[in-house]
């Protein structure tokens, strides 16, 4: 038989794009920490060059903090370059216009364990 666990994880994760390639995690942290506690920050680095790939993922503990960060920082300058900030996840598919504009950001993970 199979057991399925439905796990709802509230991770309010935003994606910051247009990040300058020599930006460091501390630059991102300094810019985004004012909106709330940064639970996690991932600045994707090109391992070969050490330079950034141009985006970062920032996680807050609650919706309001992430929303404020998006509204405050989207279209602003970080290290002289314009960044764009948006939700990383949506509740539903993109072609559904209402869900693309949905403000909820709950990640649902399905864990299936097959028992032999």
């Amino acid at each position: 038989g199979k057991l399925c666990y439905l796990v709802a994880i509230e991770g309010w994760i935003i994606i910051v794009s247009g990040v300058k390639e020599d930006a460091e995690e501390s630059d991102l942290y300094d810019a985004f920490a004012e909106f709330g506690e940064v639970k996690d920050l991932h600045l994707n680095l090109e391992r070969r060059t050490g330079y950034g790939k141009g985006y970062a993922l920032v996680e807050y503990g609650c919706f309001e903090e992430a929303q404020t960060a998006i509204r405050s920082m989207n279209g602003t300058q970080l290290l002289t370059k314009t960044i764009h900030v948006d939700w990383a996840f949506n509740r539903g598919p993109i072609q559904n216009v209402t869900s693309a504009r949905c403000e909820l950001n709950v990640c649902i993970f399905v864990l299936a364990i097959a028992l032999s």
């Binding site: 994760i13 994606i15 948006d86 993109i94 693309a100 399905v110």
Partner: protein, 156 residues
């Protein structure tokens, strides 16, 4: 209210107005059965992840989330910048008993479908018949936004 991308666009058209699909698979069939990891970005933003590790009591893990248009846009930009769409796998090592990797990408009118063996390290890349192409492939897989995130989310 106008739909995103204009009226009449069906499934497969994301916010940017062009088709985008990406699937990556790495795995092998061995002593413990078929062990693999796969993630797939669909045009509507659905990101599916599957991890089958028979080593741990036949555990199949599946995860699904919807990523935002911003994530898809960033994934497309990274793929574009890497120029992987210009590469071809004819000189790449064939899959073998150690394992197999598959990368399939649809971007607008372009489509690639690559198959190769597992890459253990950069030495494998350097000593191959197409180090430039394999290197692009090797680094690209690690650069896709949210792919790493979903793979690393701890399971119960």
């Amino acid at each position: 209210m106008a739909a995103v991308g204009g009226a009449g666009n069906g499934a497969g058209e994301e916010a940017g107005g062009a088709e985008f699909y990406l699937r990556y698979y790495v795995g092998h069939k061995g002593k413990f059965g078929h062990e693999f990891l796969e993630f797939e970005f669909r045009p509507d933003g659905k990101l599916r992840y599957a991890n089958n590790s028979n080593y741990k009591n036949d555990t199949m893990i599946r995860k699904e989330v919807f990523v935002s248009p911003s994530v898809l846009r960033e994934a497309r930009r990274i793929i574009q910048d890497s120029e992987i769409m210009k590469e071809d796998d004819s000189n790449w090592p064939e899959p073998d008993r150690v394992g197999r990797q598959e990368l399939e990408i649809v971007m607008g009118n372009e489509h690639i479908s690559f198959t190769t063996s597992k890459i253990g390290s950069l030495v494998d890349v350097q000593t191959s018949k197409d180090p430039e192409g394999l290197r692009i492939f090797y680094y690209l897989v690690q650069s896709i936004p949210c792919a790493k995130l979903i793979c690393n989310i701890p399971d119960l």
